[in-house]
Protein backbone atom coordinates (compact mmCIF):
# COMPACT_ATOMS: atom_id res chain seq x y z
CA UNK A 1 0.00 0.00 0.00
CA UNK A 2 2.83 2.39 0.91
CA UNK A 3 4.65 1.81 -2.38
CA UNK A 4 1.50 2.48 -4.40
CA UNK A 5 0.85 5.60 -2.34
CA UNK A 6 4.44 6.69 -2.98
CA UNK A 7 3.86 6.20 -6.70
CA UNK A 8 0.65 8.17 -6.52
CA UNK A 9 2.32 11.06 -4.66
CA UNK A 10 5.18 11.04 -7.18
CA UNK A 11 2.67 11.26 -10.01
CA UNK A 12 0.83 14.28 -8.60
CA UNK A 13 3.52 16.28 -6.79
CA UNK A 14 4.55 18.55 -9.68
CA UNK A 15 0.98 19.34 -10.68
CA UNK A 16 0.06 19.99 -7.05
CA UNK A 17 3.08 22.27 -6.67
CA UNK A 18 2.16 24.18 -9.83
CA UNK A 19 -1.45 24.58 -8.70
CA UNK A 20 -0.29 25.88 -5.32
CA UNK A 21 2.30 28.12 -6.98
CA UNK A 22 -0.30 29.64 -9.30
CA UNK A 23 -2.58 30.26 -6.30
CA UNK A 24 0.06 31.70 -3.95
CA UNK A 25 2.51 33.26 -6.44
CA UNK A 26 5.27 32.16 -4.07
CA UNK A 27 7.47 29.09 -4.38
CA UNK A 28 8.01 28.57 -0.63
CA UNK A 29 4.32 28.93 0.22
CA UNK A 30 3.52 26.47 -2.56
CA UNK A 31 6.00 23.94 -1.17
CA UNK A 32 4.53 24.36 2.33
CA UNK A 33 1.05 23.72 0.98
CA UNK A 34 2.17 20.61 -0.91
CA UNK A 35 3.99 19.32 2.19
CA UNK A 36 0.93 19.78 4.39
CA UNK A 37 -1.29 18.16 1.77
CA UNK A 38 0.95 15.11 1.44
CA UNK A 39 1.29 14.70 5.21
CA UNK A 40 -2.48 14.82 5.69
CA UNK A 41 -3.00 12.45 2.78
CA UNK A 42 -0.60 9.86 4.23
CA UNK A 43 -1.78 10.30 7.82
CA UNK A 44 -5.54 10.17 7.30
CA UNK A 45 -6.31 8.61 3.91
CA UNK A 46 -3.59 6.07 3.13
CA UNK A 47 -6.01 3.27 4.11
CA UNK A 48 -8.60 4.37 1.52
CA UNK A 49 -8.99 2.72 -1.88
CA UNK A 50 -6.39 3.95 -4.44
CA UNK A 51 -9.16 5.01 -6.83
CA UNK A 52 -10.35 7.50 -4.19
CA UNK A 53 -6.89 9.05 -3.72
CA UNK A 54 -6.93 11.68 -6.52
CA UNK A 55 -10.17 13.31 -5.37
CA UNK A 56 -9.08 13.18 -1.72
CA UNK A 57 -5.64 14.58 -2.50
CA UNK A 58 -6.97 17.50 -4.53
CA UNK A 59 -9.64 18.17 -1.92
CA UNK A 60 -6.94 18.55 0.76
CA UNK A 61 -4.89 20.70 -1.61
CA UNK A 62 -7.90 22.89 -2.40
CA UNK A 63 -8.69 23.32 1.31
CA UNK A 64 -5.06 24.24 2.04
CA UNK A 65 -5.04 26.80 -0.76
CA UNK A 66 -8.30 28.32 0.50
CA UNK A 67 -6.84 28.40 4.03
CA UNK A 68 -3.81 30.21 2.64
CA UNK A 69 -6.06 32.85 1.05
CA UNK A 70 -8.09 33.23 4.27
CA UNK A 71 -4.93 33.69 6.36
CA UNK A 72 -3.55 36.15 3.82
CA UNK A 73 -6.79 38.15 3.88
CA UNK A 74 -6.73 38.20 7.69
CA UNK A 75 -3.06 39.21 7.72
CA UNK A 76 -3.67 41.98 5.22
CA UNK A 77 -6.61 43.23 7.26
CA UNK A 78 -4.74 43.51 10.56
CA UNK A 79 -1.17 44.03 9.31
CA UNK A 80 -1.98 46.28 6.34
CA UNK A 81 1.30 48.21 6.69
CA UNK A 82 3.26 45.02 5.84
CA UNK A 83 1.37 44.28 2.61
CA UNK A 84 3.94 45.81 0.31
CA UNK A 85 6.84 43.95 1.97
CA UNK A 86 5.21 40.55 1.60
CA UNK A 87 4.58 40.62 -2.13
CA UNK A 88 6.99 38.14 -3.61
CA UNK A 89 6.02 37.23 -7.11
CA UNK A 90 9.15 35.21 -7.50
CA UNK A 91 8.11 33.49 -10.74
CA UNK A 92 7.88 36.79 -12.55
CA UNK A 93 10.47 38.72 -10.57
CA UNK A 94 12.16 39.64 -13.85
CA UNK A 95 9.99 42.75 -14.00
CA UNK A 96 11.28 44.02 -10.67
CA UNK A 97 14.93 42.94 -10.92
CA UNK A 98 15.66 43.69 -14.54
CA UNK A 99 14.99 47.42 -14.44
CA UNK A 100 18.67 48.17 -14.86
CA UNK A 101 19.08 45.70 -17.73
CA UNK A 102 16.56 46.20 -20.58
CA UNK A 103 17.94 43.24 -22.58
CA UNK A 104 17.29 40.88 -19.66
CA UNK A 105 13.80 42.29 -19.32
CA UNK A 106 13.01 41.57 -22.99
CA UNK A 107 14.42 38.01 -22.83
CA UNK A 108 12.55 37.17 -19.63
CA UNK A 109 9.25 38.72 -20.72
CA UNK A 110 9.31 36.65 -23.91
CA UNK A 111 9.64 33.48 -21.86
CA UNK A 112 6.70 34.29 -19.62
CA UNK A 113 3.61 32.50 -20.78
CA UNK A 114 0.68 34.86 -21.15
CA UNK A 115 -1.73 32.03 -20.45
CA UNK A 116 -0.16 31.37 -17.04
CA UNK A 117 -0.36 35.06 -16.15
CA UNK A 118 -4.01 35.08 -17.14
CA UNK A 119 -4.72 31.99 -15.00
CA UNK A 120 -2.85 33.51 -12.06
CA UNK A 121 -5.02 36.62 -12.21
CA UNK A 122 -8.29 34.68 -11.90
CA UNK A 123 -10.21 34.83 -8.59
CA UNK A 124 -9.24 31.95 -6.27
CA UNK A 125 -12.32 29.76 -6.71
CA UNK A 126 -12.55 30.25 -10.47
CA UNK A 127 -8.84 29.48 -10.73
CA UNK A 128 -9.18 26.27 -8.70
CA UNK A 129 -12.26 25.23 -10.64
CA UNK A 130 -10.57 25.86 -13.99
CA UNK A 131 -7.41 23.96 -13.01
CA UNK A 132 -9.32 20.99 -11.62
CA UNK A 133 -11.67 20.73 -14.59
CA UNK A 134 -9.40 21.65 -17.45
CA UNK A 135 -5.96 20.48 -16.31
CA UNK A 136 -6.65 17.63 -13.89
CA UNK A 137 -9.60 16.45 -15.97
CA UNK A 138 -12.10 15.98 -13.13
CA UNK A 139 -15.78 15.82 -14.03
CA UNK A 140 -18.22 18.48 -12.85
CA UNK A 141 -19.49 16.15 -10.14
CA UNK A 142 -15.98 15.30 -8.88
CA UNK A 143 -14.91 18.96 -8.96
CA UNK A 144 -18.03 19.84 -6.96
CA UNK A 145 -17.11 17.14 -4.46
CA UNK A 146 -13.52 18.42 -4.20
CA UNK A 147 -14.54 22.06 -3.82
CA UNK A 148 -17.51 21.15 -1.58
CA UNK A 149 -20.08 23.11 -3.56
CA UNK A 150 -22.91 22.36 -5.97
CA UNK A 151 -22.43 21.30 -9.59
CA UNK A 152 -24.23 24.46 -10.72
CA UNK A 153 -21.65 26.59 -8.90
CA UNK A 154 -18.84 24.67 -10.58
CA UNK A 155 -20.38 25.29 -14.02
CA UNK A 156 -20.72 29.00 -13.21
CA UNK A 157 -17.13 29.29 -11.91
CA UNK A 158 -15.80 27.45 -14.95
CA UNK A 159 -17.67 29.46 -17.57
CA UNK A 160 -16.71 32.74 -15.87
CA UNK A 161 -13.09 31.63 -15.73
CA UNK A 162 -13.07 30.81 -19.44
CA UNK A 163 -14.66 34.17 -20.33
CA UNK A 164 -12.12 36.05 -18.17
CA UNK A 165 -9.21 34.12 -19.67
CA UNK A 166 -10.45 34.90 -23.16
CA UNK A 167 -10.75 38.63 -22.36
CA UNK A 168 -7.37 38.79 -20.64
CA UNK A 169 -5.59 36.99 -23.48
CA UNK A 170 -7.16 39.33 -26.01
CA UNK A 171 -5.94 42.31 -23.95
CA UNK A 172 -2.44 40.83 -23.62
CA UNK A 173 -2.21 40.14 -27.36
CA UNK A 174 -3.10 43.75 -28.08
Amino acid sequence: MTSSLAQFLASVDKKAYKMANIATLNSQDALDIVQDTMEKMVRYYSNKQPKEWPALFYRILHNNIMDFHRKKKFRNLFFFWQQNDEKSYDDHSAFSTAEDDPDLLVIKSENIDHMLIAIESLPAKQQQCFLLRCWQGFSVAKTAQIMTCSQGTIKTHYSRAVVKLKTQLENLDV
Binding site: T2, D13, V162
Partner: protein
Protein backbone atom coordinates in the same frame (compact mmCIF):
# COMPACT_ATOMS: atom_id res chain seq x y z
CA UNK B 1 -12.88 29.66 -28.89
CA UNK B 2 -13.36 28.31 -25.38
CA UNK B 3 -12.06 24.90 -26.49
CA UNK B 4 -8.99 26.60 -27.95
CA UNK B 5 -8.39 28.33 -24.64
CA UNK B 6 -8.73 25.07 -22.75
CA UNK B 7 -6.24 23.32 -25.05
CA UNK B 8 -3.87 26.27 -24.87
CA UNK B 9 -4.12 26.35 -21.07
CA UNK B 10 -3.45 22.64 -20.81
CA UNK B 11 -0.39 22.91 -23.02
CA UNK B 12 0.94 25.91 -21.08
CA UNK B 13 0.44 24.19 -17.76
CA UNK B 14 1.99 20.92 -18.92
CA UNK B 15 4.98 22.82 -20.27
CA UNK B 16 5.33 24.79 -17.04
CA UNK B 17 5.73 21.68 -14.89
CA UNK B 18 8.53 20.48 -17.15
CA UNK B 19 10.35 23.76 -16.55
CA UNK B 20 10.18 24.06 -12.78
CA UNK B 21 12.66 26.27 -10.95
CA UNK B 22 15.95 24.55 -10.08
CA UNK B 23 15.86 22.61 -6.81
CA UNK B 24 12.08 22.33 -6.68
CA UNK B 25 12.02 18.73 -7.88
CA UNK B 26 14.52 17.75 -5.17
CA UNK B 27 12.48 19.59 -2.55
CA UNK B 28 9.32 17.82 -3.71
CA UNK B 29 11.08 14.46 -3.47
CA UNK B 30 12.17 15.30 0.10
CA UNK B 31 8.64 16.36 1.02
CA UNK B 32 7.27 13.09 -0.38
CA UNK B 33 9.85 11.09 1.55
CA UNK B 34 9.08 12.94 4.80
CA UNK B 35 5.33 12.54 4.34
CA UNK B 36 5.63 8.79 3.78
CA UNK B 37 7.97 8.35 6.77
CA UNK B 38 5.81 10.28 9.22
CA UNK B 39 2.95 7.81 8.75
CA UNK B 40 4.08 5.51 11.56
CA UNK B 41 5.02 8.11 14.13
CA UNK B 42 2.86 10.89 15.49
CA UNK B 43 4.34 14.35 15.50
CA UNK B 44 5.41 15.91 18.82
CA UNK B 45 2.99 18.86 18.56
CA UNK B 46 0.03 16.51 18.06
CA UNK B 47 1.09 14.44 21.10
CA UNK B 48 1.51 17.56 23.22
CA UNK B 49 -1.82 18.88 21.99
CA UNK B 50 -3.59 15.66 23.05
CA UNK B 51 -1.98 15.64 26.48
CA UNK B 52 -2.61 19.31 27.12
CA UNK B 53 -6.26 18.91 26.09
CA UNK B 54 -6.66 15.94 28.48
CA UNK B 55 -5.01 17.90 31.29
CA UNK B 56 -7.23 20.93 30.71
CA UNK B 57 -10.35 18.73 30.67
CA UNK B 58 -9.32 17.11 33.97
CA UNK B 59 -8.62 20.45 35.62
CA UNK B 60 -11.98 21.78 34.43
CA UNK B 61 -13.77 18.77 35.95
CA UNK B 62 -11.92 19.26 39.26
CA UNK B 63 -12.77 22.97 39.35
CA UNK B 64 -16.42 22.22 38.56
CA UNK B 65 -16.63 19.59 41.31
CA UNK B 66 -14.94 21.85 43.88
CA UNK B 67 -17.07 24.84 43.05
CA UNK B 68 -20.30 22.83 43.18
CA UNK B 69 -19.22 21.44 46.58
CA UNK B 70 -18.13 24.78 48.04
CA UNK B 71 -20.96 26.94 46.78
CA UNK B 72 -23.78 24.53 47.40
CA UNK B 73 -25.34 25.43 50.79
CA UNK B 74 -26.42 21.83 51.47
CA UNK B 75 -22.84 20.69 51.58
CA UNK B 76 -21.64 23.33 54.00
CA UNK B 77 -20.36 22.10 57.36
CA UNK B 78 -23.15 22.90 59.81
CA UNK B 79 -22.54 24.02 63.41
CA UNK B 80 -23.95 20.85 65.05
CA UNK B 81 -21.60 18.68 63.02
CA UNK B 82 -18.77 21.00 63.95
CA UNK B 83 -19.69 20.81 67.62
CA UNK B 84 -19.96 17.06 67.53
CA UNK B 85 -16.63 16.79 65.87
CA UNK B 86 -15.02 19.11 68.43
CA UNK B 87 -16.63 17.26 71.33
CA UNK B 88 -15.20 13.98 70.19
CA UNK B 89 -11.78 15.50 70.16
CA UNK B 90 -11.96 17.59 73.38
CA UNK B 91 -13.08 15.77 76.60
CA UNK B 92 -12.71 18.95 78.71
CA UNK B 93 -15.26 20.74 76.62
CA UNK B 94 -17.59 17.77 76.97
CA UNK B 95 -17.22 17.87 80.76
CA UNK B 96 -17.91 21.58 80.79
CA UNK B 97 -21.02 21.12 78.72
CA UNK B 98 -22.24 18.36 81.05
CA UNK B 99 -21.69 20.69 83.99
CA UNK B 100 -23.69 23.46 82.35
CA UNK B 101 -26.44 20.97 81.62
CA UNK B 102 -26.41 19.75 85.28
CA UNK B 103 -26.49 23.35 86.52
CA UNK B 104 -29.46 24.21 84.35
CA UNK B 105 -31.29 21.11 85.60
CA UNK B 106 -30.60 22.11 89.19
CA UNK B 107 -31.90 25.61 88.58
CA UNK B 108 -35.00 24.16 86.91
CA UNK B 109 -35.69 21.92 89.92
CA UNK B 110 -35.26 24.87 92.27
CA UNK B 111 -37.79 26.91 90.34
CA UNK B 112 -40.32 24.05 90.41
CA UNK B 113 -39.89 23.51 94.10
Amino acid sequence: MSNTIEVQAKVSLDTSIEQLEPGVEQKLANIRHQALNQASKKSIPSLLFGKSMALSACSLVVVALLSSYLFNSDNKITPPLLTQHELQEDPELLAELEFVYWLSEEEYEEIIL
